[in-house]
Symmetry: C2
């Protein structure tokens, strides 16, 4: 917080904030900086973001695409935007080729030691058509499964990838997310790879960092034309360990799996958008993203109620200022993020012509933890301006990164990939991967003070971005 105190001192001493940056040095007029500070401090005392997560988790709950909860969530968001004083709110429909009925999932060891296991169907898995029984063949990693030649060597077997995200040690210099990346390879493609080797089904250790007896679901429709569709499920970490301990004894271990899941025809849903209109109109705007859909076993509090709550609250807090900022701010609540960013892809198509109108974007999809580092992803000339804006959130305990390589997180990465300038607000995890995609993703996992810090960071930065006349593409 040393840097923060320094920044604060600067505000108090100088009539205009200017930061070293050569000819393109950014200048934040004192009234704007003062407004940003007031807004930041006000946001820290404002529990709106938390109340919004409480509201969506209590009144809507799970909201997987194509379910009744999805429909309720869209109605909730439209109502809430208006209630919060947004100037307009609307839906933009899109259709995905497949819906999915989760059904029920059960699993049990049949021999040598009969025990029930906790299992969940991976997203868009086919059902088992009754009990599917087979001996288990363990693969320590997805690469070990890939190393089996294609053919029929796993005929009659159930492939089991026991890779543990919790125990994974990334290579030197590797990202802390490397374990998630490793785990999601098997989660997303395991059923195709195992089927090509003859397996009847695949089970994986849940991709998560916890040791709760709750399984992590995930992944969207991932079958491949011409490859047999086999069921795919995830075991909770304790059950994966139990299965491994049985296998260590060297006797065949027979597993019974029963999923009543079903893939259905096309499903229509929508992105929901709310706008705080700027004093110079709607034709240029900043975008704050989150996803409205969730997996269906928890109530979608950290994934991504926290994003919905913080983004709606940040914009609403800016919208309450006496004087509207220059530019508009749109909160984009995407549908279908969990099944492969389908909502934002539809948005990108529908808005292909007005992409230049989108001045700057960011998304929260990592839970409700505090921001620890701001990374810009803007034109070289505007970096000093963003650095100057950053000084106003430094008092929140946020570091600055010089990388300037942000491309937008989660859904926003699609817009970032299409050339939209982006900011990445890297967050503390608050045990995100203990809970995400499990029944445990519930409101009690939200830490209210952290949510307020998170919201304050976005409100401050996006107020500044909306007020200052900066071309972030330059």
């Amino acid at each position: 917080m040393r840097r923060s105190a320094f920044a604060l001192a600067l505000f108090l001493l100088s009539p205009v904030f200017s930061f070293a940056g050569g000819p393109a040095a950014a200048v934040i007029p004192q009234p704007v900086a003062e407004q940003a500070e007031l807004l930041r401090e006000g946001a820290l005392r404002d529990n709106l973001s938390v109340a919004l997560v409480e509201s969506i988790t209590t009144e809507v709950g799970p909201r997987r695409i194509g379910t009744a909860g999805d429909e309720r969530a869209r109605a909730w968001a439209l109502d809430k935007f208006i209630e919060l004083g947004f100037d307009r709110a609307w839906s933009e429909e899109f259709t995905v080729p497949h819906g999915w009925i989760r059904g029920e999932a059960s699993a049990a060891i049949v021999a040598p030691y009969p025990q029930r296991l906790v299992v969940t169907a991976l997203g868009y898995s086919v059902g088992t058509g009754g009990d599917l029984v087979g001996d288990v063949v363990e693969f320590a990693t997805f690469d070990d499964l890939l190393a089996v030649p294609e053919g029929n060597s796993l005929k009659g077997k159930i492939a089991f990838v026991s890779f543990s995200m919790a125990d994974y040690v990334p290579p030197p210099g590797g990202s802390p997310m490397a374990g998630y990346g490793q785990g999601t390879r098997a989660r997303g493609r395991g059923h195709v790879v195992a089927a090509k080797r003859g397996a009847e089904a695949i089970v994986i250790r849940s991709v998560g960092t916890d040791n709760n007896r709750l399984a992590h679901t995930g992944s969207g429709y991932g079958y491949q034309d011409g490859v047999r569709k086999i069921p795919a499920a995830a075991l909770s970490a304790p059950d994966a360990i139990l299965l491994q301990n049985m296998l260590k004894r060297g006797k065949p271990v027979t597993l019974k799996l029963n999923l009543t899941s079903e893939i259905t025809g096309p499903v229509t849903t929508a992105n929901v958008i709310g706008e705080i209109t700027g004093r110079e109109g709607s034709d240029k705007y900043l975008v704050l993203g989150a996803h409205l859909d969730s997996w269906d076993e928890g109530t979608g509090a950290i994934d991504d109620g926290a994003g919905v709550g913080s983004m709606m609250a940040a914009a609403a807090i800016i919208g309450r200022l006496k004087k509207r900022p220059r530019r508009s701010i749109r909160v984009l609540l995407f549908g279908g993020e969990e099944i492969g960013l389908t909502g934002v892809r539809a948005y990108a198509e529908q808005h292909a012509d007005d992409m230049p109108a989108q001045l700057l974007g960011a998304e929260v999809d990592s839970g409700g933890g505090r921001v620890n580092t701001l990374v810009s992803g803007v034109g070289e000339q505007s970096v000093p301006a963003v650095r100057a804006m950053y000084e106003l959130i430094a008092p929140l305990g946020i570091e600055w990164s010089d990388a300037n390589d942000a491309k937008g997180d989660s859904d926003m990465s699609v817009l970032g990939g299409a050339g939209m300038p982006a900011l990445s607000f890297e967050q503390n995890s608050n045990n995100y991967f203990h809970y995400h995609h499990t029944p445990n993703d519930t409101f009690d996992k939200i830490i209210p003070e952290d949510m307020r810090y998170l919201t304050a960071a976005y409100a401050t930065m996006f107020y500044l971005a909306a007020e200052l006349d900066i071309d972030f593409r330059q």
Copy 2:
């Protein structure tokens, strides 16, 4: 650890250990003290207790009284005693008046915000006979429910006791277990009290300290003759909070509960006993207790696999010494602890005549955490001897308590109540109440080093008690 270093220095300097204690001062001959030290240090390097928990949780799993797992557990214990070098092992049957089929449990909010809740039947609850639907009436504590006059005011309603063990602050000087005691009042008697007020069913917030979406079961047959038997269930903490948040909105909240539980006729099971026979025969012995039964949703690792593993290992380690200690050591693995100490009660009846043969007892039923404090419960004259024995476990980081009021823990309290001298090894909780009575009670919750410390404390103290000729009743 200051005291420990001091104790160690004493051993190295003096030929015979004598501790101040007046005329009854205890003296531990140097060879015995040295043997105890070697045994303690060996136990710290011996993973047997952990391996036993791994074995029972993997090869047996859940073992609720009257289930197939109960039967497998008894066979496992008899085999394991012999495999571990116990001199004899046997079962002692007993019968309880009721068995119970858990069946399936489900719950959902019907209105105003439809959501599925995570629920578990409390032990020996009757079923709902299909969907039971009623509006929820919340009581913050069991006392608030008790305060409702008997009659029909809760007719058509489902009573909900939302008391939270996690949030409970004990009164000054109160036991840290006070919250558990408060919670178990509603768990054990809520269905009778609610029925007397006309309620159709009762749901309680799980009695536990976690916020996982897993419900804590518990309690045995608790219905009362002449009072209508209503179903009783526990919600996970996040679901209790969700329900409270819905109720706060002031509209009626309608809950649907479906339990297919069923109370059955008498069930016969057994206590399983293993003996390390002392060099002076079997007629006097020390007893190490744990319970073999478990609840049925986890694999019974902390409750009470940790007790089974540490007690069997402590005795086995003593049994491996070249020279058998003077007295015998019996490991008593009780059945039916979870439904009201039924196994030990049967044992106390069956052994009424040989109670004086039981020189000293202790039980592990608080998970696999390290011992932090030793409390004696012996005759006044033998306190100095126990204090002297204690000095040999002080290096494990264990404090001495002067209270001398131990009555035996869990099952052992019945024998302590019948006059048997007891020791209480108070343990660190290792999050015991996060996991107990839930699916989360699995092997991965065991911390191996802590189990070795736990086992070393018992092995050392019970070696000394078996070797030294102390009348703990005096």
